[in-house]
Symmetry: C2
Subunit: 200 residues, 2 copies
């Protein structure tokens, strides 16, 4: 049994979104499962001493252009969100809760959140939007909303981020498999080669 | 007549080195010339508020590994220099001087500098090493050494960096062609598609 692929991402990360469109297909080609790990880049950037790309002088304009060009290049749907970047903690907590309570719904939820934010310009920093998306997938609205208000799920996300950082995760998407780390959607080609050949 | 490709790079940048191995072949496929622009990332990073990858927490170890993996993936020679990163101002100034005085020697010089640093672990921050490499290419050792000591060439490099930053250059390699900018060796695939199709 081959080890699963750990796929780390922030719901506010366009390159994480691009990665989410490819990771399961890539894994399936090499008979791997994917463990989806929502994280927040805020605390990570703080530790690394960096900031969201679009807020950095010079890199900002370039990266806004690059996201759109990269989407076109790979034939991926992408509409730049009007509110960007955003805090994605509600969506991340909701996903952690689903992974515990309704694991079959967790990945479909992640896909729908990403699609809502990056193709329909729905502001997924809003709790009602997140709960609404989960409800459309058949999740109990009240149960989720209640869980999102509790300390337990906030602690769980914090722990998840700490664990990710302990493993060296510092960006989104970030993939770890068989001890090998790949940062960025750019590295999916090398990830593919690694999964194919067992080395690179 | 198609416009030339502007190729910006720092002699201390491994990804700039990788780009230097590909840029002329890529350009030739689409009947383009390449203008090679040595710059220093130091002043650029200062403006952008960032730092060399390998000095950043978490990113440092990853990027050292990534450089070697990327070289293997593309079948490029690469030996991590023991002294890295280094100040590359002497090599950059020498190249600017060659571009004025002996333009035919400039690109061979750049290739030899990169190869010396990234495959033979020669510390190209040292003036004697830079002058020696130029001399091996038939450049007058005394004339170059003299020029390197003068204010004029220092000013020229400063101006070259300012011009690059005015055009939005913030990393290495950085390519601009027909108004389209590509940051990083990662983007050579998109650059190729752009040169092929005239759009992306």
């Amino acid at each position: 049994m081959k080890a699963p692929i750990d796929f780390y991402f922030d719901f506010s990360s366009p390159y994480g979104y691009f990665g989410s469109l490819e990771i399961d297909k890539l894994a399936a080609r090499y008979e791997r499962q994917v463990n989806w790990h929502p994280v927040l880049l805020g605390p990570v950037f703080k530790a690394v001493g960096t900031a969201p790309l679009v807020t950095i002088p010079m890199k900002g304009d370039y990266s806004r252009h690059d996201m759109q060009r990269t989407a076109r290049f790979h034939n991926m749907l992408f509409t730049p969100p009007s509110n960007f970047p955003i805090g994605s903690q509600v969506a991340a907590r909701a996903m952690l809760w689903l992974q515990e309570q309704l694991p079959d719904k967790a990945v479909p939820f992640a896909r729908t959140i990403y699609s809502a934010y990056f193709t329909e310009d729905i502001d997924i920093s809003q709790t009602d939007k997140v709960v609404g998306i989960a409800a459309d997938l058949g999740v109990d609205r009240v149960a989720l909303a209640t869980a999102l208000g509790e300390q337990d799920i906030k602690d769980k996300l914090k722990q998840a981020i700490d664990s990710a950082m302990e493993r060296g995760v510092f960006g989104s998407p970030f993939v770890i498999v068989d001890g090998e780390a790949f940062w960025g959607f750019d590295r999916f080609t090398q990830l593919d080669a690694f999964l194919k050949n067992g080395k690179i």
